[in-house]
């Protein structure tokens, strides 16, 4: 029979020195305390992309707040048609537009417009998105049903198209606030959806049940336990929406339904330069670079934030 001839293994016991027993479940408290935010900051500090994008954003903010630090040439006056599409000269490092205005000065003075629209839209989107997303996710039921359907409706009109309609109809009221409102009012559902899903996940966590069993009030649970644990993706999407808002403003201005020509805007300048694209491409390209670098700075910051705050993204790096 096979079982009779089958060799067997001897009883082997490893010497104790080889694997000394350690206490079961011992606690180590070396190193600094760590949680999601501390870990994220530790992670972010090590990444060059974070420092590059932060430095660029800092520069952009300074340019937007204090344009006069960078140029003494007024962007609108002093334009002489004799300088039309002119090459760089002393004091005018980037040359002139078709109207003979200083390109460098117009880029510097256009910064605040882009940044302002970006910030206002982002604020609006974050406020609407957080309120609607948190309420829908936390309270569920008919509140969720109502808010989610409302979000679906706003989400079904691409926000630039919606802004085009609003700005076409309200063209005589165009200014930074109106254009920001026109973009933001249709851009919030994406944020709300992300937060709703996160809140939905967190509100079923055991620590939320434990808090309920303690008698902690619903509102306090939402604010103290649920929101802090679901806000991370909102930060990521908000940073990126800042970039999208800047693009949206430039697109609207480019289409001629954005800011009036009297307001400095990269989109306006790009729009006006298109007729001379074949003869003087630099007039179009230079503000385009300013626009793209600004957008890229925020996109990079969003990327860094995603990598630091989303464990899944971190694992994929």
């Amino acid at each position: 029979m096979p079982s009779n001839t089958r060799p067997t293994q001897a009883h082997y016991v490893a010497p104790l020195e080889e694997t000394p027993l350690v206490a079961i479940d011992s606690v180590t408290t070396e190193g600094k305390p760590s949680n999601l935010w501390r870990d994220a900051w530790r992670d972010v500090r090590k990444r060059p992309m974070f420092w590059i994008s932060s430095a660029l954003i800092l520069l952009i903010v300074i340019v937007a707040l204090f344009p006069d630090l960078f140029t003494q040439v007024p962007p609108n006056n002093d334009c002489q048609l004799s300088n039309s599409n002119g090459a760089p000269t002393t004091g005018h490092p980037l040359g002139f537009t078709r109207q003979g205005c200083d390109i460098y000065s117009r880029i510097i003075h256009g910064t605040s417009t882009s940044l302002a629209v970006g910030l206002i839209v982002t604020f609006l989107v974050a406020v609407l998105g957080i309120i609607f997303g948190a309420l829908a996710g936390f309270y569920g039921g008919w509140v969720d049903g109502l808010l989610s359907r409302l979000g679906d409706i706003f989400f079904s009109i691409p926000y630039i198209l919606a802004a085009v309609v609003i700005m076409s109809v309200f063209s005589q009221y165009a200014n930074v606030w109106v254009i920001s409102l026109a973009i933001g009012i249709f851009a919030w559902p994406a944020t709300a959806r992300v937060l709703r899903a996160e809140v939905f996940r967190v509100r079923n966590a055991d620590f939320v049940m434990a808090a309920t069993a303690l008698g902690v009030s619903r509102f306090r649970i939402l604010v103290r336990h649920v929101l802090p644990n679901s806000i991370a993706p909102v930060i990521v999407i908000t940073t990126i929406s800042l970039a999208s808002a800047i693009v949206a403003e430039a697109t609207l201005s480019f289409l001629g339904v954005g800011l009036p020509p009297s307001t400095m805007s990269w989109g306006n300048d790009i729009s006006q330069a298109q007729v001379t694209l074949s003869t003087a491409p630099q007039v179009l390209i230079l503000p385009s670079i300013a626009l793209s670098v600004t957008v890229l700075s925020f996109i990079m910051l969003g990327e860094v934030a995603r990598d630091a705050l989303d464990p899944k993204a971190r694992a994929q790096r």
């Binding site: 079982s3 293994q9 001897a10 082997y12 206490a23 305390p33 501390r38 055991d206 049940m209």
Partner: protein, 589 residues
């Protein structure tokens, strides 16, 4: 036995191949590349497995048991790779085999049954597609008809009736047990010499577990497959395998015949495991005819177990002594005809809890036992007022829960606190341990800032955690430590009742034993009443005074723990008891 064919050379090789182990792992080392350099997961593992044998690798999470299994088929996750040693399959070193050759070995020579049936089938392909794919890859059959016929055969063999119709279905239309049958069928589809089963039933309900394991055992015996079995449950390992390998921190600490190791564990780590395994403790108590007898019978063994061995039987006895007087105490909780009906969109109503009644005497433990979907957790949630009851009566500390609202409810909550299952979800990851433990005091405006801090320290002491933890965050703690924090939070308001909803189920055996000991000690010290909700009847034997067995929303059997174990009346209870591994092991008292 050996046929002599054409001369002695051949005979010699045949003889030697018969004696040669099918699988021989020598000094196997596996490392993972991390940010901090190479981290060794295996430190020289030796395993010998002969043809037709069954061998179980036992260990806690992180011991390297699954890594060993994955190293054999060369499918280590992520950056894992073999850094040294040999894996000899029938003399061929798999550690040095090319990927192309490995592809031919996987499936054909080594079958693999993975752990979690829910995640191991591709959700977008039909069952038939996935079985047929395995058959084609191993060249078992060619031609559409033959492949399909073989696929049906494989599924039938795996115990799936109606295989023909099943082929067209998708994984999500199968239950967990059925999926595991499919996975076993796929693992055995090419009739491999060796089958590796990595915790094949851990994700399943206990009664289903038993059926699947029985089936796996008879199938491998029938086919003459050598079985390498991986499990965290020592009782299960000993019951299902002839040979045992105990792993700890990437090394083998003890190996040899199962019965011998179980009866006479030599390495202190094995001794710890034996003492802490609920299935073994439960069997031992049963075979000795009571906790005290069991304790007497093994005290000698336990005495030479070094260090901080947690003996479950000793725990049980200590508890039994402390509780003895409490059996006739007035009830702390009375539940009568408690019912919960969920409305399900489209398909009407679902009665999750159906007229459940029980009482828990003050200072005792009642276990509510049932498989997933039995309604046991819903009972806990209703009692904790986290879920509204559809009908029925619940009286806690003399107060009818149906009538308390507002301030009264708030006050009542402080007298009854929960500890939940998932150690990773039970603590708010963004609040430090000090704030988490003090939150109940804060919420109920107990004491001053200084007195709350003092109470926090006291609670940390009570659950045996260092005071330095107050400023740390949950992600720095292990599962067991988090459960201790959760227990400390539950005890902060000095409640009379603690509802433990699968509070130890997610923990490794040694940690589980430690927490059970802690719970028993706290009960004696503070006179706590426990409602202990679990799927694991073995743990119940150690911790509970009364048992209610739940099935499909109803309590099918309720009695003292001894009665339920000694004299189960319902078939379902008998099935649950039979599902505790280790029934047929001689435990050598």
């Amino acid at each position: 036995m050996t046929e002599i064919v054409n001369g002695t050379d051949v005979q010699q090789t045949i003889v030697s191949s018969d004696e040669r182990p099918l699988l021989e792992i020598k000094d196997l080392e596996v490392g993972f590349n991390t940010q901090d350099g190479l981290v060794k997961a295996l430190n020289g593992v030796n395993i010998t497995l002969y043809r037709g044998q069954s061998l179980a690798i036992v260990g806690e999470s992180g011991s390297g048991k699954s890594t060993t299994a994955h190293a054999i088929i060369n499918l280590l996750p992520g950056t894992g790779h073999i850094t040294g040693g040999q894996i000899l399959l029938d003399g061929q070193d798999l550690a040095k085999t090319s990927e192309k050759e490995m592809e031919a070995i996987r499936g054909r020579k080594i079958g693999f049954v993975p752990q979690d049936p829910m995640s191991n089938l591709n959700p977008v392909w039909s069952i038939g597609f996935q079985v047929e794919e395995a058959i084609k890859a191993n060249g078992i059959a060619t031609g559409r008809k033959e492949v399909k016929a073989r696929a049906i055969e494989v599924l039938k063999q795996a115990g799936l009736g109606d295989a023909e119709r099943r082929l067209k279905q998708f994984p999500h239309q199968f239950s967990g047990g059925m999926r595991q049958r499919v996975l076993i069928g796929m693992g055995l589809a090419a009739d491999p010499q060796l089958l590796i089963a990595d915790e094949p039933t851990s994700a399943l309900d206990v009664t289903v577990q038993r059926v699947i394991l029985d089936h796996l055992e008879s199938l491998t015996r029938e086919l003459g497959t050598t079985l390498l079995f991986i499990t965290h449950d020592l009782g299960l390992a000993a019951e299902r395998a002839e040979q045992l390998v105990v792993m700890y921190k990437g090394r083998v600490v003890e190996s040899g015949p199962s019965v011998e190791i179980l009866q006479n564990p030599q390495h202190p780590y094995t001794q710890r495991l034996v003492a802490a395994a609920p299935s073994l403790a439960s069997r031992r108590i049963q075979s000795s005819g009571g906790i005290a007898a069991a304790e007497a019978s093994i005290s000698e063994d336990a005495s030479h177990a070094a260090g901080e061995t947690i003996d479950l039987i000793a725990t049980a006895e200590a508890r039994a002594e402390a509780i003895e007087a409490a059996a006739s105490a007035p009830p702390a909780i009375i539940v009568e005809d408690l019912t919960k009906v969920f409305k399900i969109r489209g398909s009407g109503e679902f009665t999750a809890v159906d007229k459940v009644s029980f009482q828990i005497p003050k200072g005792t433990t009642m276990a509510l036992v049932g498989e997933s979907g039995s309604g046991k957790s819903t009972v806990a949630k209703m009692l904790l007022k986290l879920e509204e009851a559809t009908s029925g009566k619940m009286v806690v500390g003399g107060r009818d829960l149906a009538t308390v609202t507002g301030k009264e409810l708030f006050e009542l909550r402080s007298r009854m606190q929960p500890v939940f299952q998932d150690p990773y979800g039970s603590l708010n990851p963004l609040r430090n341990i000090g704030n988490t433990i003090a939150e109940p005091l804060h919420t109920h405006k107990v004491g001053t800032k200084a007195s709350r801090r003092a109470r926090t320290y006291e609670l940390l002491d009570q659950v045996s955690l260092p005071r330095t933890l107050v400023g740390r965050y949950p992600n720095e703690l292990s599962g067991g430590q988090r459960q201790r924090v959760a227990i400390a939070r539950a005890l902060a308001l000095k409640p009379e009742i603690v509802v433990l909803d699968e509070a130890v189920s997610a923990l490794d055996v040694l940690v589980q034993a430690q927490i059970l000991r802690l719970l028993a000690d706290l009960q004696g010290e503070l006179g706590l009443t426990y409602l202990f909700i679990t799927h694991d009847l073995a743990v119940v034997r150690v911790i509970a005074d009364h048992v209610c067995v739940m099935q499909r929303g109803k309590i099918v059997e309720a009695a003292t723990t001894d009665e339920v174990f000694d004299n189960p009346k319902e078939q379902y209870t008998k099935d649950l008891l039979a599902a505790i591994p280790g029934a047929n092991i001689e435990l050598g008292a």
